[in-house]
Structures are given as C-alpha cells and as structure tokens.
Subunit: 244 residues, 2 copies
C-alpha cells in the first residue's frame, strides 16, 4: 500500500510533526519536543487528495484518522434518495475520521474541496502511543471532546436560528478559523457551493443565496461568487444576538 519511495518523498516534504507549522493546532499541541519526535514515527505518511477526490467513503473500514495539513474538506453522507447532507467543513490542523472509531468503519464521506494534503495517523498506533505519552492522550481526548462541543453548537444553530442568523454564524466561524491560521479575517474564498452551505446549515441553496444578497444590501459583506469580503463583523454579530 505504501512503498518506501513514497515514504521517503514524504519525509523530504517535511512529514514530521516536529517540523510542521500546524503543530499548535494539531495533536502535538503542548507536547515536549522528545514526545513530538515519537509522534513523528507514528504519523506514517502523507496523502495527497486532489479536488473532488474522496479521502474516505462511508462504509470503508476504519484504520486511520487524518490531520489536514493543507487544503479544505467537506464531510457528509448520501441519503437514500441521492441527496447529500453535509456534516462539516475541515481546514488545516483539523482532524478527520473520528466518527469511524465507534463502528470501526467510516460513517461519512470525506471529499477534498481543493487540492489537499493530509497526515495519515494509524489509529492503533495513536492508541498505543497515547498509553505512553500522557499529554498526547489528554490532547486527543480534548480534540474528541471539542468535536462533541462543536456538533452541539451546530445543533443549537439548526434548532433555534433563522436563515440569516445561521449564515452569519457560519461566516463568523469561517472568519475566526481563517484568522487562527494567519489568513485575513475579513476576506476569503469559499471552497463550497451554495448547495453545500445550505445542506450544512439546513437550508435550501436559494435561501442561502438570498441571505447573501440581503447581507450585501445591508453593507455587511461584499459577495462576488465565492469571494467574500466581510465589511462589518460587529454587524454580523448583531444579527446573531438578535434571537440567540
């Protein structure tokens, strides 16, 4: 499955956690340097996923979790009638595949929305190393817990907010995550379609489009297709506060 050649070229591409500029966003967070070196051994290889390709599919056996090194993913499931339901968007430093642990097979699809790179973290090795490195164990538990908290936040969004509030929350969340990664908080490129945003927010694509237009009318943002410029962050926040 993974040839020595790939292994070597990966190394030359700085596969090592100790060299990764995402280590403050990822599993190595807070680990001592000797511990991070052990992590390096665990992270078997990198995998490149081109735009539109699957990182994994629902039903496939679960063996590894993945850390996004570069790029942008969506996760979701295909419903019986063929529609897609998007459950999340992941960017660099975020983990993919945690849902597969429980059933030992992936429960959703993960698709790259742009050419991406991930670190492959064999789960049994992660568990093994977690038994040795206390802070890695604790870190991993925190990451899983954060995922639970995140999901509950979305449940609240879906359960109690109107269309415009949902979109405002979505934009502010993206803005905040881009900021953490050193990008502009106010200007970015959406990697997903209106359809995918709508699916994620529990809205139809037309409703998403209308909300974008409304925000633009109110000079809160400027939209040009997928290019978003947030003009008034406090204004977006006020939309959230209205009902929530």
């Amino acid at each position: 499955m993974h040839s020595p050649a790939i292994r070597i070229s990966s190394q030359s591409l700085q596969v090592a956690c100790s060299q990764c500029n995402l280590r403050e966003l990822c599993l190595p967070y807070g680990l001592h340097s000797d511990e991070v070196e052990k992590l390096d051994e665990m992270v078997g290889m990198r995998r490149r996923v081109k735009r539109g390709q699957h990182l994994y599919r629902a039903g496939e056996p679960f063996e590894s979790i993945f850390a996004v090194r570069m790029g942008f993913f969506k996760t979701g499931v295909i419903l019986e009638d063929g529609r897609e339901q998007v459950t999340g968007f992941q960017m660099s430093g975020e983990l993919l595949g945690l849902d597969g642990i429980s059933s030992e097979s992936h429960t959703c699809n993960a698709v790259a929305l742009e050419d991406s790179d991930v670190c492959v973290i064999p789960f049994s090795r992660l568990e093994h190393l977690s038994r040795e490195i206390e802070s890695l164990q604790h870190n991993f538990h925190k990451v899983m817990s954060r995922e639970i908290v995140r999901d509950q936040g979305i449940m609240m969004l879906l359960g109690s907010m109107h269309a415009e509030e949902r979109l405002a929350a979505f934009l502010l969340n993206l803005s905040q995550r881009f900021t953490t990664r050193g990008f502009s908080p106010s200007e970015f490129h959406l990697r997903m379609t209106r359809q995918e945003i709508g699916s994620y927010l529990g809205l139809k694509l037309e409703t998403v489009s209308r909300a974008f237009s409304k925000f633009q009318e109110g000079n809160l943002i400027s939209v040009q297709q997928k290019h978003i410029h947030i003009l008034d962050i406090p204004g977006l926040r006020r939309i959230l506060r209205k009902q929530d």
Copy 2:
C-alpha cells in the same frame, strides 16, 4: 466532600462495575473480569440526584464524567434571553459530561428528569487507567466516537427533516433505547415536557403537540399526556423514509 460513611453505603448498594447489570452498556463492555475489578476502584462513588436537581451546571470545573445507573437526564444550555436549548436525553448506561473535557469546565447543564443515580468517574483516574488497560482505552474512545456519530445524526435530523419526521425519529430512538434496556419497545412514559422535546427537535411545543395528535389520528400511537403507546412501528418508520 465524600465521607467514609457514604463510601460504605455506596458499596453496599453495589457500586461495583463487576456487579452492575449495566456493564454491557457502559465502560466495562468487553473487559476481562480482572480488568473490571480495577474499574471498580476507579469509580469513586455514586451520587443520587433528585428530580429537578442539577448533576452539574455549565461553567463548573470539569473533574469527572458520570455514568447513569438509574434514572433519566436532560442536558442543555440556557441562552442569553433565558430560553433553554436541550441538547440530549440520557438514560441508564449512558455517559454524561464528555463535553467538559475540552475546556476543563462543563459546557452544559445536566438535570435529572426523575430521581436518578449516577456513578462518578474521576476523569484523571479514567485517563490513568486507560493507559494501563488497552480495552478500556479503546472502549472509551468508542464511546466518545459514538457520541460524535449521535450528534451528527441529530444534525441531519434538524437539517433535513420535517416536524413529523423528527418526532417519529425521536420516538423510534427512544423505543430502541428502552428495548436495549429490557423495557417495552412500544409502551413507555416520557419524562420530558413537550417544550423540552420541542427544544431538542428544533420545534415549538405547539408543533410537537400537533404532531402527537396527528400520529394518534393516524393510529400510529396512542398518547395520554406523557404515556406513549406505539401501535405501529413500521408506520412510524415509513414516515421517516418519506423524505429521508
């Protein structure tokens, strides 16, 4: 905080995992008997929570997770305007407090909906023991992962289903969980109000009430206040299938 006297009385009430008839639903699942005995030492004590009382509150420091031994809980948050948003209902064998790991403080409130008993599991001891007992570690990871999968299921419910579909899914889910615990799949008592069901399902209480009435008209269930009798499980399933 916990006197020897309480400790002893707890023991006499069969605090031990090895004696617990929920062990197939809880953390001890699949552990060898010598390992379960180590678990017994970890589970410090039981705690009794009367109906309406809080097990924990949002913002309190996180120290332990809890396993429901007996009873019924709801978790939720209070929004700024005073409304409550319910994020889950927990019954025997299910864990509470996993969301607190990430921030080291509880992110929601947990309230007993009937007089309940929980096992208090100090989290640092759980992590410590997880480093020794491989199957406990794996079990715990599975439990957390299952929570993530569960939340994503609710996201899909909230994002893509109509009122009656949501209520049908809710009833079928309860039915299934009661069945697992040896109770009737078709007849049970709701511990929560229409308001709380509505909050959980992203609906107003009136809508929940109307959906109950509609199901009753269609001879799918018989409702008498909080007492539910499911007359036609396949019929409820068909309601789910319609749009999903």
